[in-house]
């Protein structure tokens, strides 16, 4: 069986599945049970400075969007960092780490953006024996208004500065957790590494209003008739997180640097995808909050089954494998010509491909007698919309045209040569072909 053991920044864990800093990791009771359930590591719920802890709202703090059967697709929260005293958390962290030396235990931190505050808390964290720290530059609500969380994460200079302080006053690995509420994720990542961060982790939650109560005319979750924006997470955010991870993984300034991926990881497959895009491990929050700690067992079994099928002995074998295949649009091969093809035996004749193509795309699907749906190659631009809307998996496929064939849409002979936009005659900035 595949070996799921991971080494992330020298921190070993029996599998790459860590719980993200959030309610599942808010206290000793949870974390012990999480470890018993099989989680490879946890990032403890974010700690703040010594003194009176923050307070949370006393009404609802989560909202959700659902699929038809109330399958939770996205979660939004207005929770703050831990609302328990610092000392309590530190004592618990110390005890738990001692009892679970084989698991990763990272402490998440968010303190005001001044050197004193960091200097004060870091030695206390060091003493717990935890394996590293994660800097929470991500929370988009509540803390940002106080100049912490995403308010710091949106300013690369601050990120670098705080990271440098941490590297100065703390001896173990420093992970910088990034907020996605920013235009270009590469800038904060570069800043973190410029400040000598050991790794970045992403994404934290996305600024969001999850829904509006149309009777009370207020956003949800609602307290006394009012709501506020919160942080969005869960399966729905995965595509955004995947892209951000990939951007960092292929940015020449940060390529090859360790990444801990977060955002919508719900199954083994999600984890494998993030890792293929360069993440050394993954962190999970919403999936655990939806299904409980036991979900990790599916992730573990699924990932090792897949690795066995593919012949990967350890996670390092496939981490980053997809990164070289992520490119910019301008480098995509414009001579790669495909046509949609409908498998008539699999087709159930719903006509969705037709409606989609006829109404919103290229009028390239015929509806023939007896509801036979066929692609008109002379119009098909291979956009893939029909594939996406067809309810039957693999019923519509994209078939590549062979070199030498004539594309009936363009009347041109398909060539086997690679050519992209940079050299295309329609590109005003095209480099002259040699």
């Amino acid at each position: 069986m595949a070996d799921l053991t991971t080494d992330f920044l020298g921190i070993k864990s029996p599998n790459p599945f860590w719980l993200a800093s959030a309610p599942p990791t808010d206290k000793e009771y949870n974390v012990r049970r999480a470890f018993e359930a099989g989680w490879g590591g946890v990032v403890w719920k974010t700690l703040g400075s010594e003194g009176p802890p923050v307070v949370n709202v006393n009404g609802p703090r989560y909202g959700a969007i659902y699929g038809a059967d109330r399958r939770l697709l996205g979660l939004n929260n207005i929770e703050l960092i831990t609302d328990r005293p610092l000392q309590t958390n530190l004592e618990e962290i110390t005890r738990v780490k001692k009892d679970y030396p084989d698991r990763a235990l990272i402490v998440s931190l968010m303190v005001p953006c001044d050197e004193e505050s960091w200097k004060a808390i870091l030695p206390m964290v060091e003493e717990t024996g935890a394996d590293g720290i994660e800097l929470n530059f991500g929370c988009p609500h509540g803390m940002a208004e106080r100049g912490m969380g995403s308010a710091v994460g949106q300013v690369p200079e601050y990120i670098q500065m705080v990271t440098e302080w941490c590297k100065q006053y703390y001896s173990k690995p420093v992970i910088v957790k990034l907020t996605p509420n920013i235009t270009d994720i590469r800038n904060p990542a570069r800043a973190a590494f410029a400040g000598n961060a050991d790794a970045v982790s992403l994404i934290n939650t996305i600024n969001s209003i999850i829904s509006v109560d149309l009777d009370q005319m207020a956003p949800e979750p609602m307290l006394d008739g009012k709501g506020t924006h919160g942080g969005y997470c869960g399966p729905a955010v995965k595509p955004i997180a995947l892209n951000m991870v990939a951007e960092i993984a292929r940015d020449p300034a940060t390529a090859g640097k360790p990444i801990s991926a977060i955002g919508g990881v719900t199954t083994w497959r999600d984890a494998a995808e993030f890792m293929a895009l360069g993440a050394g491990n993954v962190q999970v929050c919403t999936a655990a909050m939806t299904y409980g700690f036991r979900v990790v067992q599916e992730m573990i079994a699924g990932l090792s089954q897949w690795m066995d099928e593919k012949g990967y002995a350890s996670t390092a074998d496939f981490v980053g494998m997809a990164v070289p295949n992520v490119t910019d649009w301008q480098y995509l091969n414009l001579n790669y010509v495909t046509k949609a093809k409908i498998d008539q035996d699999a087709c159930i004749k719903c006509g969705r491909c037709y409606a989609a193509c006829e109404d919103t795309s290229h009028q390239a699907i015929w509806i023939k007698e007896d509801r036979v749906f066929e692609v008109n190659d002379a119009e098909c631009v291979a956009c893939n919309l029909c594939v996406d809307v067809c309810p039957v998996e693999n019923c519509i496929t994209m078939e590549r045209m062979k070199p030498g064939e004539v594309d009936p849409r363009t009347g041109k002979v398909v060539t086997g040569d690679y050519a992209n936009w940079t050299t295309h005659p329609n590109n005003p900035a095209a480099q002259a072909a040699e």
Binding site: A68, I348, K349, C350, G351, R352, Y354, R371, P391, V392
Partner: protein, 444 residues
């Protein structure tokens, strides 16, 4: 003397009252809102959806299902009722397995169609429970239309005409409106007096008066009706029954199935209704299945349906056959009655096995005798009391187009008219379409 199940002859009280009540509860329980949302989500919102083509009333099924999915069963109900004013009843009684659901692409894909009928019921029940009638009348036209027969065809025609501003009088021979919705449909398909409630709700459009106890042919004449009205719609159903033409068919205990079902539907107490210990039903349609199943549900010990052809030829759908079998009814194929046996009352029935020779059913000579206290004849209904002067075709009132008879100014639809299946939903469609045609004629 044995009681309950084993009581001999035709007797009431074969089952405790609670069991009978449970037996006659809803065949398909109504959806709870979440179930409806999940069921609705299975619909693919097909293009030019095959289910719509298969619905005789052309309900925009993907649209109403989507409206349920977005949390508005009321809007969904308007979509349904705009096409089919008896959408509530049709949701309960349509043989969906041979109509809309048969051609649902999910039936093709996985042998499990979207449950269109149940979703339709969810939508229409929701609206009707709010005591809302979703349509209003157009400005009165001053035109008057006579509708003969208050079954689904007549009610549908009357509602549409009233909506268009015409004044409608329905003449109904029986003491109650509803036609077979009230007197024929199996009790477990139309529970809680739904047929009567639906008629009351339908009449809220206004402009429709129903005169019960008024029968064309007995008191009313076609000339009288055409004289006092701008148009006449005939929707008298099939009031007659085919005779068995076997010795013994007049013995006490031998009865028309439709008559038994009508008694059952009108009974104040089902527990007080008598049924045989051994029941044999002759026939193979929906009426045969309904008579057999309901006999079983009343507590008959042995119930057999004897059908003269093979299973594939049976007019009752496979779903109906399986329902009968599941309730404990025995299905016998390729047998025909030779004689109903008994001395003063039915005690048995003699059947002969059949084979199809040159396309005709013929006896093979092999016979079998079954014990029977009660024999129900369900071998088809016939047109009874068609007015003179209106041309017939194949035993029904000949119609062309949207229900036009051979006589100008007279339309016909539903079971009494030629063409179409004898189904509630077809009757509704024909009534509606005739109303539109009458409207065009009256406003031309």
């Amino acid at each position: 003397m044995a009681h309950g199940h084993q009581a001999s002859g035709i007797a009431a009280g074969r089952l405790p009252e609670e069991d009978i009540a449970a037996n006659f509860s809803d065949l398909h329980a109504p959806y709870a809102p979440h179930e409806a949302a999940v069921a609705a989500d299975r619909c693919y919102f097909c293009y030019d959806a095959p289910c719509v083509t298969a619905c005789p009333t052309d309900i925009d099924i993907p649209m109403f299902i989507r409206q349920i999915q977005t949390g508005q069963p009321e809007t969904a109900a308007r979509t349904i009722l705009g096409q089919n004013i008896l959408g509530g009843m049709c949701a309960r009684v349509c043989p969906t397995e041979t109509l809309c659901e048969e051609v649902c692409v999910r039936e093709t894909a996985e042998g499990k169609p979207v449950e269109i009928g149940r979703l339709q019921r969810y939508a229409t029940d929701t609206l009707m429970a709010q005591d809302v009638h979703p349509f209003t009348r157009a400005e009165p036209t001053g035109r008057r239309v006579a509708v003969v027969g208050a079954g689904p065809a007549g009610l549908s025609c009357a509602h549409r005409l009233a909506m268009l501003g015409h004044d409608v009088t329905i003449f109904e021979a029986k003491g109650k409106p509803g036609g077979l919705n009230e007197f024929g449909i199996a009790a477990y398909k139309s529970t809680d007096d739904f047929a009567a409630r639906e008629v009351d709700w339908l009449l809220r459009i206004g402009g429709i008066s129903i005169e019960t106890g008024k029968s064309l042919g007995a008191g009313l004449t076609l000339d009288g009706l055409t004289g006092g009205h701008d148009a006449v719609f005939l929707s008298i159903g099939l009031g007659g029954v085919n005779a068995l033409r076997a010795p013994g068919e007049d013995l006490p205990g031998a009865q028309d199935a439709v008559e038994f079902i009508a008694e059952l539907r009108q009974a104040d107490s089902l527990a007080a209704l008598a049924v045989g210990r051994n029941v044999v039903v002759i026939g193979g349609g929906m009426t045969a299945v309904d008579a057999a199943v309901q006999s079983k549900l009343l507590g008959a010990e042995n119930v057999t349906i004897a059908y003269r052809r093979d299973r594939a030829s049976m007019p009752a759908s496979r779903f109906e056959q399986d329902l009968a079998a599941a309730k404990g009814v025995k299905l016998m194929f390729n047998v025909m009655p030779v004689a109903i046996l008994g001395d003063g009352a039915v005690t048995g029935i003699e059947l002969e096995y059949t084979a199809v020779q040159n396309g005709r059913v013929a006896g093979t000579g092999e016979r079998v005798t079954l014990a029977a206290d009660q024999v129900f004849k369900a071998i088809g209904q016939t047109l009874d009391g068609a007015p003179d002067g209106v041309a017939l075709e194949g035993g029904k009132i000949a119609v062309t187009g949207a229900g036009r008879t051979s006589v100008a100014g007279i339309w016909a639809g539903g079971d009494c008219a030629s063409g179409g299946d004898d189904l509630t939903v077809t009757a509704v469609a024909e009534g509606r379409d005739a109303a539109m045609d009458i409207h065009s004629a009256l406003t031309a």
